[in-house]
């Protein structure tokens, strides 16, 4: 099992450790609900060093990424900006979702998932053979996400001096770099904060400094409930190689504007648009006692769907889910939990952003009960 540079610190903090995508990672340190709420109301930090970091260097970098990714890196008007995108196969299915960091004309960094590391590497290398690029894993870097309304303020003093000035004016989805450190105003929680990349050997010192000033360490459970509330997809759940970005709420990340940009999967997506999209991503809020879970069946007036991620929302204090549905038109559905059909409200994610509940929770719980 692979270990991040922070592994011994997680053990020292008494974290419950779990194997995740071949890595030994913290599931939780204390209470996952407390960890979750710390991020919503104060600041929490996550060891995300298991994520895959790949640098794309060379004069063909922009041209290559415009071919490789469904979103268009040419949308980035200047360096030091990041872009979220799906990486598709020829059928329009999602090989992975990535964040592309535009460092300069001949240098990008991709952050991709942990579980998809080997297949991404093979795929990217295979697609790159006609382009002037070199492709490099950046396993020399660790990655720590510090998230929450107070996260940036609590972090700034611990950054290298050269970064401290730059980060003050950092816009969302922008980043700054110095001495092998990268501080990006990105994240996976729906709160403000940073994702920091830094040399492995410097990561423990930063983690301990943040711990010292009261940033709550958070495990994978809180990471999952936070991203679900924020309405972010998780690769392998909402997204996989048989689902296109149009079918899982990511249409706005597909750039079809330039007709001559023939990115991988484009013609399949255009066919889907012409024929009609089969699946839609929605949010659900359970209107009865119980907990929504991945794999549960969803019944609507117009057909059936299923839950792709489910669990408990500490902010809403009820169970929420992301689901794959055959329609967008309906407001309510039934979900099968252990053989019983229970009423759920259908909403448009996100459920929560910047500490605030973004959806109107239905009070009508009786009408369509079976």
């Amino acid at each position: 099992m692979r270990k991040t540079p922070l592994n011994s610190l997680h053990h020292r903090l008494g974290a419950r450790m779990v194997e995740f995508a071949g890595w030994q990672m913290p599931l939780r340190y204390t209470s996952e609900i407390e960890e979750h709420l710390a991020v919503r109301h104060d600041a929490g930090m996550f060891d995300v060093s298991h994520m895959t970091r790949i640098d794309i260097r060379g004069t063909g970098a922009i041209e290559f990424l415009r071919y490789l990714l469904a979103n268009d890196v040419a949308k980035l008007k200047q360096a030091s900006r990041a872009l979220y995108s799906c990486m598709l196969n020829e059928q329009g299915g999602i090989i992975d979702d990535v964040v592309a960091f535009y460092r300069d004309e001949s240098h990008f960094r991709l952050v991709t998932n942990a579980a998809t590391r080997e297949k991404d590497w093979v795929w990217i290398n295979r697609q790159a053979k006609d382009f002037e690029v070199g492709i490099y894993f950046r396993d020399d870097l660790a990655m720590i996400a510090v998230q929450g309304p107070n996260a940036r303020e609590m972090t700034d003093g611990h950054l290298p001096a050269a970064l401290q000035e730059q980060v003050k004016t950092l816009k969302p989805f922008a980043f700054a770099e110095s001495e092998s450190w990268m501080a990006a105003r990105t994240g996976y929680t729906g709160e403000d904060g940073y994702e920091l990349m830094l040399p492995n050997e410097q990561a423990p010192r930063l983690w301990e400094a943040l711990l010292e000033c009261g940033v709550q360490p958070c495990g994978l459970v809180a990471r999952d409930t936070l991203r679900m509330e924020a309405g972010f997809n998780l690769y392998g759940q909402e997204m996989d190689e048989d689902i296109s970005p149009l079918e899982c709420g990511l249409a706005r990340t597909v750039a079809l504007e330039s007709p001559d940009r023939k990115f991988i999967g484009r013609s399949a997506l255009e066919r889907q648009l012409a024929m009609g999209v089969k699946w839609w991503r929605a949010g659900l809020i359970l209107q009865a006692p119980g907990v929504l879970r991945r794999g549960q069946k969803v019944k609507l007036a117009s057909g059936e769907g299923e839950i792709t991620s489910g669990g408990f929302s500490p902010t809403l204090q009820s169970s929420i889910a992301l689901a794959r549905l055959p329609t967008t038109g309906e407001r309510q559905c039934q979900v099968e939990i252990r053989g019983c059909w229970k009423l759920a409200q259908i909403v448009q994610p996100p459920f929560v952003r910047h500490g605030k509940i973004m959806i109107e929770i239905a009070t009508d719980k009786g009408d369509h009960h079976e």
Partner: protein, 129 residues
């Protein structure tokens, strides 16, 4: 190491069983079980009056991350449930051995003796870890 009180019996599914003065059995989940599940957010209680076999799934505890069945340790009848858990499932995290899920009237009063004792359960835990 999790807490394993001496006056209780245990099952391999991580339930604890307390024999009360009236001979009925209170059933809950162990410190190890609540610790493994994490913050509990929902408990599905059995119906009072239900007859259960030994090892029959009769309640469900759900945490933020996972759901787990609770099995009846011995055959008998559910005579009471801990209704407070419907609104406060977190009591199990806070006080696992003081928070029962249901009360069982055992078919065979001697069945309790066949459950794991403290040493046997502690051994099971050390083998699992």
């Amino acid at each position: 190491m999790s807490d394993v009180p001496r006056e209780l019996k245990y099952t391999k599914n991580h339930e604890w069983v307390r024999r009360r003065d009236d001979g009925n059995l209170a059933v809950g989940i162990t410190d190890h079980a609540q610790e493994a599940l994490g913050d509990l957010v929902y408990v599905e209680l059995p119906e009072t009056g239900r007859e259960v076999k030994a090892g029959e799934a009769c309640a469900v505890v759900e945490s933020v991350k996972a759901a787990a069945d609770i099995y009846s340790p011995v055959a008998g009848t559910i005579i009471d449930v801990n209704q407070v858990l419907a609104d406060m499932p977190e009591l199990i995290n806070e006080n696992p051995y003081g928070t029962h899920i249901f009360i069982l009237k055992p078919q065979d009063p001697a069945a309790w003796e066949t459950l794991l004792d403290t040493e046997e359960y502690a051994k099971l835990l050390s083998e699992e870890s």
